[in-house]
Symmetry: C2
DNA sequence: AATACTTTTGCAACAAAGTTGCATTCTTAA
DNA sequence: TTAAGAATGCAACTTTGTTGCAAAAGTATT
């Protein structure tokens, strides 16, 4: 855990370690709110906002778009952390039943051909449906 | 414009017509805020929220996820409006330069194979990069 | 065209989410 | 150990989204 922070040139603080720990312990993506409920008694709301922002910039976590006004975050793979920018090419799945959002690490986003004149920098794919636990 | 409302079994009111008009006049997807700045002097904020909600449910507009805390809305195609549910299978593109989000109506979302046990209900694909106007 | 009924709107009040500046505390590196 | 820099907590604030209710507008019927 401290390694992750040090590799990203971040100072090792209690709140950062705690938030990382929460991510490592979770099997699904977390919204700001999820993290807040897990540690708002220990750390300030503002600190959580700033920590997530920092982790995003350093490539420790990535954010997952959604249409429910709730951006969720998940740990990146090694490649992101070591290079400092994102290499997340996997599909995300949000279950309509349990509400959990997970990274489908084994499902790569297929290629798309954009119309002439468009340049792709990043691509996001989010699937909604029923997950294997709720099936 | 009135036809669209009537076809969706909605009563024709000034605010609904105005918001539809704004969408028809726009070449890109609009966030709640965009609409508010265009007509907050005429209509209440709450009305705009409720109108967008209604349009979504009736399949007049669809929402586009993003990682910037700004859900955007765009008009649906005929098929959505006539059937009352969404048939939006196109890719969305958000330009990192001008910030505009557009529907790439001609680019279909490619198929993905989900792992065993997952059922797909809806799929969203958003590409970030530089659009043809900013190129 | 007037009526009665239903739907929509605006207002107010509120709740939740996110941001900023600044003083204090903690980390790090020398 | 200490000095410099970075992160945190607090307070205050802005923005975003929600809810209940009375007033107004729309719709269908006569």
């Amino acid at each position: 855990m401290e390694d992750i922070l040090k590799n990203s040139a971040l100072s090792v603080t209690a709140s950062r370690k705690r938030i990382l720990e929460i991510f490592l312990a979770s099997d699904n993506a977390l919204a700001h709110q999820d993290i807040e409920t897990k540690c708002a008694d220990q750390y300030d709301r503002v600190t959580i906002y700033r920590t997530l922002q920092t982790f995003l910039e350093k490539g420790i976590i990535h954010n997952i778009p959604s249409t429910d006004n709730m951006i969720r975050y998940a740990l990146c793979n090694e490649a992101c952390i070591t290079t400092g920018h994102h290499h997340d090419n996997h599909v995300h799945f949000k279950c309509d039943d349990c509400g959990k959002t997970v990274c489908l690490d084994d499902v790569n986003i297929p290629a798309v051909n954009l119309p002439k004149g468009y340049t792709m920098k990043e691509i996001n794919m989010v699937v909604n449906g029923i997950c294997k636990s709720c099936k």
